[in-house]
Symmetry: C2
Subunit: 252 residues, 2 copies
């Protein structure tokens, strides 16, 4: 049994807590929450503390709090000799002032209340020693089938890439929805296409899956489209169209 | 039984042909292909002609050819009194020089060889009379559960919106893949996030599903991200970040 303490009871902390609580290979010894009002955790099956000095011994302490707060929070932790990890995609491992430090980053959008299985969520792990990396790998494997060793430099880049495929993609969905609303078209017409576009890249590299007027260099359609758009939508349409053209000019 | 002739044996023509062939409510009388080399269709179970004058009588003639060729092709059709439709998202109904004209547009990326069920594919239909609209609705319902009445003006806009959620989204996937390749990160790490992002908008409007540094106005992370990107990627990052900020400033 790996003894784990979770520090933080936001989205990631809560979901990790629930998952570890179910696992037979993990002993979730405690959860730390900043405020006692948040001390309701798994129907009180897990001890929740609001004072860092009351933390019990554990094999791994997982800091699951906002990115900006990690550095200061870590300084206050009394566990100077234990393995301490954070769960952030954007923060370097080395902000943690411990000899035994690491990262335990689940790459998925995680909300507190939505039911979530970590089974297919990729865990990006990093540690300061091979021994601790092994511990993190073992721990991640208790709840997920996908564990990757990713260093801080890679993780930073992965985090940007995630912004493109998650935040920016979602914004393109929002633009399409705005176009639909404007013209009294049900947005649901586009949902099968959205799902198919995402599903397609499970098997085909997105570079090879590219279709549409930009890659066909279909200038007539591009100009027709631009006429229909608002100025700010036009800017995005032009930039992405040119980017597709450039990408595929260089490839061919 | 609705008697149907399909004119064109590209991606859409072939897939529609296969689907109608299976349907018990449709009699697929003929398929027209431009060249005889393409006359292999459903193992010769359907008659294929390469001469428009050999077309038999049908209730609906479906033109499934490239957008640019539709206008000229339609002029050559001898069936001046039948219901003739095209399958394009971008071409107006009125380019068809027939009194009984219409549109029969399946909104999905369609390739010739991939197995495809039209059941969940939205069909956007339009006709010049209520009677013909009814026929097209009945016909679409034989292969799909999702049939929408969409006029030419709406369809043009839907087509642009589709470029955003399909072509542009796929390009963002491609950029993320390029970042991963550059840093020796397996792109597959991002696939669960890509699928989750698409799945999320089945229930939540994309405007409400927006997350990330742009909507949080997290300038520190935005600047860190920009440092990691190539100049052309930076341009896209900046424009989409500002667009998210603007969208949500106006909403709040």
């Amino acid at each position: 049994m790996i003894k784990v303490a979770i520090l933080g009871c936001g989205n990631v902390g809560t979901q990790l807590g629930k998952a570890f609580f179910k696992s037979k290979k993990v002993d979730l010894v405690q959860v730390y929450c900043r405020s006692s009002t948040a001390s309701f955790f798994l129907n009180n099956k897990i001890e929740v503390v609001t004072n860092l000095n009351k933390l019990k011994e554990a094999d791994v302490y997982i800091i699951a709090i906002l990115d900006d707060a990690i550095t200061d929070f870590a300084k206050k932790l009394p566990q100077k000799k234990a393995l301490v990890v954070h769960t952030s995609g954007a923060v370097a491992m080395n902000v943690l002032p411990f000899k035994r430090r690491g990262v335990f980053y689940p790459l998925q959008t995680i909300s507190k209340n939505k039911k979530l299985s970590f089974k297919k969520v990729p865990f990006c792990i990093e540690a300061n020693s091979k021994k601790d990396l092994k511990i993190l790998k073992k721990l991640a494997k208790t709840i997920s089938k996908k564990v990757y060793k990713i260093d801080s430099e890679q993780r930073k880049n992965l985090h940007v890439a995630a912004v493109f495929v998650n935040n920016f993609v979602n914004h393109l969905y929002a633009i399409a929805e705005a176009i639909c609303i404007e013209k009294d078209i049900p947005f649901s017409i586009l949902k099968p296409l959205i799902l198919e576009t995402a599903n397609k890249i499970r098997k085909i590299s997105p570079v090879n899956a590219q279709t549409g007027p930009a890659i066909r260099n279909d200038q007539k359609t591009i100009e027709e489209h631009l006429k229909l758009l608002q100025p700010k939508q036009q800017e995005i349409y032009k930039l992405l169209t040119n980017s597709i053209k450039n990408t595929h000019q260089n490839n061919s």
